[in-house]
């Protein structure tokens, strides 16, 4: 039933009329099987359509309006919105645009700009590290060894431990930060910091110092990375298990080594999931509770200022950045994955 038979169409709009006719009784198409199936299918996804229109599209539009205006809550009557105008000169002509809130968020707010840049940098590094890490762990968990079930149980614990309030709640404590500072300084002074001494050893040889800095940054943040890769491991593992063993057998018979069959079979088969995981990781990082940009938006919104307009503008900027990031990584991944196919 899934294969649509495309008929010859007389006009460019005949597709549209056909699909409208599927829903309107009293014509030939209405009683056909595809039309019936289409109506039932639409009924199945109706909750989603309603929800998307009412609780996503409408608030999105409202939020866009808010980000352009000053919102004042009026008791009883809801709220009023007035555009926050700002004059710009483009090619010599002065144009007044309602971008006051955006200007405030980027140019006037003391913290937002800086936090945004920091968090994006952290996101880029963490995403790459999370993807690599979860892929390696998934490949290992997919092998047969003693204690595999036990390892699986443990590796899915981060799904619980890194959700909701749990990750941010302790790091907001001053004592916690103090303790980790002390830990770092002790390690520095006594020289038992393994990663640092290794870093010194390698960077003395003077090869690509910046790259090593990033790598060691990742190694130091390994706890955060493992905690953030719960779902990604599960997704990769499900992909790995759907690969048929006969493929490996055939490769073995043809004389492939394990290394070769990893790159020629495992990697191409799992690579579609790379995209899903990357997008998920980026979004997960965005919505984390301990994300400092999110904290800033919350303080602007619910804090003393109660500034809904600026808060909306901030979250739109943040969303725009995320979208750009997702678009770039999608582009890169689809390009590289295609070369394997």
């Amino acid at each position: 039933m899934s294969k649509k038979q495309r008929k010859h169409r007389e006009h460019w709009y005949s597709g549209i009329t056909e699909s409208v006719q599927m829903y309107v009784p009293g014509n030939k198409i209405y009683h056909t099987m595809p039309a019936r199936r289409a109506r039932i299918g639409t009924l199945f996804i109706l909750p989603f359509i309603i929800g998307f229109l009412f609780f996503m599209v409408r608030p999105l539009i409202l939020s866009l309006q808010m980000s352009l205006s000053e919102v004042k809550l009026v008791p009883g009557a809801g709220f009023t919105m007035t555009h926050v105008m700002r004059e710009y000169s483009i090619f010599g002509t002065r144009i007044s645009l309602p971008l006051g809130n955006y200007h405030y968020a980027l140019a006037t707010d003391p913290n937002y700009n800086q936090l945004l840049v920091q968090e994006i940098g952290r996101m880029a590094i963490n995403t790459i590290a999370t993807i690599v890490m979860s892929f390696v762990i998934a490949v290992i968990l997919n092998q047969k060894f003693k204690g595999r079930i036990f390892c699986r149980i443990i590796f899915f614990l981060p799904v619980i431990l890194s959700s909701g309030v749990l990750p941010g709640i302790e790091s907001s404590n001053e004592f916690y930060n103090m303790m980790s500072d002390i830990g770092n300084s002790v390690q520095n002074s006594s020289g038992i910091n393994i990663s640092e001494s290794l870093q010194n050893l390698i960077s003395v040889s003077g090869v690509a110092g910046d790259v090593f800095d990033v790598v060691f940054q990742m190694i130091d943040a390994i706890y955060d990375i493992v905690m953030a890769s719960g779902i990604q491991i599960i997704i990769f593992l499900s992909g790995l298990q759907s690969i048929s063993p006969s493929l490996y057998e055939a490769a073995d018979v043809e004389g492939c080594s394990a290394w070769e069959s990893f790159w020629k079979i495992t990697f191409p088969m799992v690579s579609p999931l790379l995209l899903v995981n990357t997008i998920y990781t980026i979004i997960d990082f965005f919505m984390k509770n301990d994300n400092r940009v999110m904290e800033r938006i919350n303080t602007v919104m619910y804090g003393v200022q109660l500034n809904f307009g600026v808060a909306s503008a901030m979250s739109w900027i943040y969303f725009g950045v995320a979208l750009a990031f997702i678009a770039i990584s999608t582009l890169i991944i689809t390009r590289t994955v295609k070369s394997y196919e």
Partner: protein, 336 residues
């Protein structure tokens, strides 16, 4: 992976004889296998230890008296064992009420989410209808758009809730649904709840992997669409649905964002936990009007205990259901 070649050599020969016959290949292979398994075991042990260690530390800390916290000779084993910390956290988080509230709200919300997601994902997996691609793109958008973007707008929408001005016309003013459960239930039933897009995606993958001939056979035998869905598709999908339910439950249990925005009228565990530190001063003072300064170390200890108490039910639940988790997710393979 590769089969043992004892068949060709004979079982009674010892290892070195067999090795000589295979011209050193056997030894090479054995060494390689052992090296791989040792490296793997080390890696797995290290990572597992890293995940478990904070929980162990928390547990050890929960049994310590305050003086033990500042004693530098104590790392894990407490010198003065006490259980009163649990009592304090129990009071501070308003435990029986907040946990029961969190429990029933999480169950209700997860059921709503999963029911809606199952229906929608079946619609996407099995039917052809106009604009299908567009709506599925919307599902992907749903996963991508952070709820923070529409947070303010939803706040305003639900504080004067109205459907095409009906309430305005009948009762004179729009409804304020800010402190009731209704907005959140509505959102869950229409797939707009916490990470709902992901559930649709997962369940759709599953339904797509079921062979279509199963349904066609049912159709030939005179089964209607609804009948096919309930009697044939649903029973097989139970493990996947269950794991979606568990994800939903766990995330809802610890969620702060939606809880703070939609369930401000309820006494919830996550909100209690996040505001715990600010209520400690009042709790420890003998006089109800003044607050004492609680040392940061003590605060951290109590917060850690709260985290532990919040996690324990989930971990117990997870231990009982991990088989469902692992196996159903293994089946939700990618078919694209």
């Amino acid at each position: 992976m590769s089969k043992d070649n004892t068949v060709f050599i004979g079982e009674n020969k010892n290892f070195w004889v067999r090795n000589r016959r295979s011209e050193g290949y056997l030894l090479k292979r054995r060494v390689k296998q052992i090296t791989i398994s040792v490296v793997r075991a080390l890696l797995m042990f290290g990572l597992c230890f890293m995940i478990i260690q904070p929980m162990v530390t928390r547990f050890a800390m929960s049994l310590m008296k305050e003086q033990d916290l500042y004693d530098s000779t104590i790392i894990l084993l407490p010198r003065h064992v006490t259980l009163e910390n649990f009592k304090i956290v129990y009071d501070l988080t308003d435990m029986p009420t907040s946990m029961l509230n969190t429990l029933w709200i999480s169950i209700v919300v997860s059921i709503c989410q999963v029911v809606a997601a199952t229906l929608v994902s079946y619609g996407f997996a099995r039917f052809e209808f106009p604009l299908k691609k567009f709506w599925f793109a919307c599902v992907v958008m749903l996963i991508i758009i952070p709820p923070q973007t529409i947070q303010t707008a939803l706040y305003v929408t639900f504080s004067n809730f109205d459907v095409f001005g009906i309430f305005q016309a009948t009762t004179g003013s729009a409804l304020n649904l800010r402190s009731s459960l209704l907005p959140y239930i509505m959102m869950s039933l229409t797939c707009m709840g916490l990470k709902n897009g992901l559930f649709i995606y997962m369940l759709r993958q599953y339904f797509k992997s079921v062979p279509e001939s199963l349904e066609e056979a049912a159709y030939v035998d005179g089964c209607g669409t609804m009948h096919t869905f309930v009697k044939i598709m649903l029973p097989d999908a139970v493990p996947t649905i269950a794991s979606c339910f568990l994800f939903s439950f766990v995330w809802q249990w610890t969620d702060l964002f939606y809880t703070r925005n939609f369930l401000s009228g309820y006494n919830m565990l996550s909100v209690r936990m996040s505001t715990m530190a600010s209520r400690m001063g009042r709790y420890f003072s003998s006089d109800a009007t003044q607050a004492v300064v609680v040392p940061n170390g003590r605060q951290l200890q109590l917060i850690s205990i709260a985290v532990l108490m919040c996690c324990i039910p989930l971990i117990i639940l997870y231990c009982f259901t991990q088989r469902t988790f692992v196996e159903s997710l293994a089946m939700t393979g990618s078919k694209e």
